[in-house]
């Protein structure tokens, strides 16, 4: 049984412009101790997907559509009582966010914000919680943890704050850590440190890591498997090795092609043309076809399904190029 099993997750938002289908039928699995990378541009639904797992989608306007399923350790998270969900949050599943500068409460000391989790989930007394909190700060590499414990967030740098966030997330030894672009807002040198820290802590504690990023370099370094998302859907999955060296989907190929290489001063960058369309009206047919250089009539006619690249393989892609022989499938949930 996988640790996390997301099946046909659909998270829609009601907006003035219409219903935004931010996450539209995502399925993925994560084994205990595994590192799964979620890759895609901004607006692909990666963050909404992650927030849906923890039940953090503000409702209204957000809504997880009936038929979606998120199973954690066999437990259906979309059906548990709020009290049980709060027990899971921060304890069995933790999350760290993109912006460390705004993710901590500016009017409470960082120590207090760590202590809160320890006292809530592990039932520690104030003094024990402080000792455990200081130890956590030391573990995430904060020097002078005892003094830093009583600092306020504005007295620290972004890198240190992200370490604090990691300390908070790890305080209860969760089985799953969701990291939503944890290094995007940081300096490059700090990025590498934070990433190293995450990986070493993951190995030490044996937890699974769901790493959301748009940085393929990060993926290459830490992930076992990769899920590429586009337009609120999974467009390709496979092992990191397979995805990075033999991308099947034109979107994945585009992502890889747009990476600049060090020393390639004379080579022009090769970006994917256009931007991610609005989640309120995804294009008919393949959602990527407007930006795809291989698109032909069939891509406009019907939407390809996410199917194994080779029958029986764990590797799959959502593209007519990969599955030219598949007949069109009438997809549930798609407005006609």
């Amino acid at each position: 049984m996988p640790l996390l099993e997301v099946t046909d997750l659909r998270t829609y938002f009601t907006t003035d412009a219409g219903v935004a289908r931010a996450v539209d039928g995502v399925s993925l699995q994560l084994e205990a101790g595994e590192t799964l990378g979620i890759v895609g541009e901004s607006g692909c639904g990666k963050t909404v997907m992650a927030l849906s797992i923890l039940g953090l989608i503000p409702s209204p306007p957000g809504e997880i559509v009936a038929g979606s399923s998120i199973r954690f350790n066999g437990e259906e998270l979309l059906e548990v009582k709020p009290a049980r969900l709060r027990e899971i949050r921060g304890n069995e599943i933790s999350m760290i966010f993109q912006e460390p500068m705004t993710s901590l409460n500016p009017v409470l000391t960082v120590g207090h914000q760590i202590e809160e989790v320890l006292r809530l989930h592990r039932g520690l007394k104030r003094r024990e919680a402080r000792a455990a909190g200081v130890a956590l700060l030391a573990e995430v590499g904060i020097s002078e943890p005892d003094q830093r414990y009583d600092s306020y967030p504005h007295q620290m740098s972004g890198g240190m704050l992200q370490r604090i966030m990691i300390a908070i997330a790890l305080s209860c030894e969760p089985r799953l850590l969701i990291a939503d672009e944890p290094t995007t807002a940081l300096d490059v040198t700090i990025q590498a440190q934070i990433l190293d820290l995450l990986v070493s802590l993951q190995q030490k504690h044996g937890m699974a890591l769901l790493l959301i990023t748009h940085d393929l370099g990060v993926v290459a370094e830490v992930c076992d498997r990769v899920v590429v998302m586009y337009g609120g859907q999974v467009v390709e999955t496979g092992t990191t090795e397979e995805i990075l060296s033999h991308p099947k989907h034109p979107y994945t190929q585009g992502l890889l092609a747009s990476l600049p290489g060090i020393g390639d001063r004379d080579v022009r960058l090769n970006p994917i043309p256009g931007t991610v369309p609005s989640a309120v009206d995804w294009p008919e047919g393949c959602r990527f076809r407007d930006r795809c250089s291989f698109a032909w009539e069939r891509c406009a006619e019907s939407e390809p399904d996410l199917l194994p690249v080779v029958a029986g393989a764990s590797r799959s892609a959502r593209c007519w190029l990969v599955h030219p022989d598949e007949s069109s499938i009438d997809r549930a949930g798609k407005p006609t």
């Binding site: 927030l51 500016p106 009017v107 989790v117 504005h154």
Partner: protein, 323 residues
């Protein structure tokens, strides 16, 4: 902080100067209130001398400021008592009334604002917004008159279950009441004037708290708090509220002038023996020293209130430090 306190001194001096000239340059002669048909011009002139009104205005100004520096506010023209004694007697009454009003206003306003923000666009939010706007746009003295009419007169005529005394600070038989009954009597007298003042302020505070809270609950750290597994009351009251209160505290400084000008009307409506009523009465009597002394005390309370707001700012927001 010390620098801020010292900075308040020239401010108060400036206020005192403006008060003095506004009062003393107004047309009219305070001595004329003692005029009677049997009086000779010499006697009237002697009264002027006694009141210090024979001196030119700049001399009077220097004398008044000099006395002020020694903590002397002069003598009342009408009651022949030191102004300071009168103020000492009445100031506590005003402070009780305004402190109650502002306490109730902030408590009610903040609570309502939170509920409105958490249940945005709910029926309760809409109803509270409309009722709030009603009270916000209402002059407090009119509200006070309606209170007297409804809870004083109608309640008395209709023998309602609750009736509130429409005037004064205590009942005539106050001296004969038991200690518990005394407290109750005071509270009953306080209810209507404090409510008239508080409702108007609370309406504004609720609107501020609502918008401030709405802004805060969308922020990342509130999401972090939820992701940690904290319960909703902890997320709202501990993580969101403290941040949302920062702009609301500014209101304390901003609302004090409204509060004190409110007490001037409210005390007159409810015959509350306080500073507001004192100033109104002394204006009608042309009692210059009392007008000046009373107004100066109000001004100083506003200055002190703003200092308190600044200190509270630093208490709530660790990013602010006064060195």
């Amino acid at each position: 902080m010390v620098r801020r306190l010292l900075g308040a001194i020239p401010l108060v001096l400036g206020i005192a100067t403006i008060i003095f000239f506004v009062v003393n340059l107004a047309p009219g002669d305070p001595a004329l209130r003692f005029l009677n048909p049997n009086m000779t011009p010499e006697v009237l002139e002697q009264i002027r001398v006694n009141m210090g009104l024979d001196q030119p205005v700049h001399i009077r100004y220097v004398r008044w400021i000099g006395a002020l520096a020694r903590g002397d506010l002069g003598f009342s023209f009408t009651s022949n008592r030191p102004v300071l004694d009168i103020i000492k007697e009445l100031l506590p009454n005003t402070l009780v009334l305004s402190a109650t009003a502002i306490g109730v206003a902030f408590l009610l306003g903040i609570l309502l604002g939170i509920v409105q923000a958490v249940r945005q666009y709910s029926l309760l939010d809409s109803v509270a917004s409309i009722v709030g706007l009603f009270f916000y746009s209402m002059p407090s003295f009119w509200l006070a008159l309606m209170m007297v009419l409804v809870f004083g007169l109608f309640a008395y005529q209709g023998q309602w279950f609750i009736q509130f005394p429409p005037s004064g600070m205590q009942s005539v038989d106050y001296a004969f009441l038991s200690p518990m009954a005394k407290v109750q009597d005071r509270l009953m007298h306080l209810a209507l004037p404090a409510t008239s003042l508080a409702l108007v302020l609370a309406a504004g505070i609720a609107r501020y708290t609502r918008s401030s809270m709405l802004e805060v609950i969308r922020q990342d750290f509130v999401r972090t708090a939820r992701a940690k597994g904290l319960s909703e009351p902890v997320v709202i009251f501990k993580h969101a509220l403290r941040n949302a209160l920062i702009p609301v505290i500014t209101l304390l400084g901003l609302y004090l002038p409204f509060l004190f000008s409110g007490t001037v009307f409210i005390e007159s409506v409810f015959a509350w023996p306080g500073m507001g009523k004192l100033v109104v009465d002394s204006i009608l009597e042309r009692d210059y020293p009392v007008i000046m002394g009373g107004t100066l005390i109000f001004a100083m309370m506003v200055v002190v209130g703003n200092l308190v707001a600044d200190v509270l700012y630093a208490v709530v927001d660790p990013r602010i430090r006064y060195d």
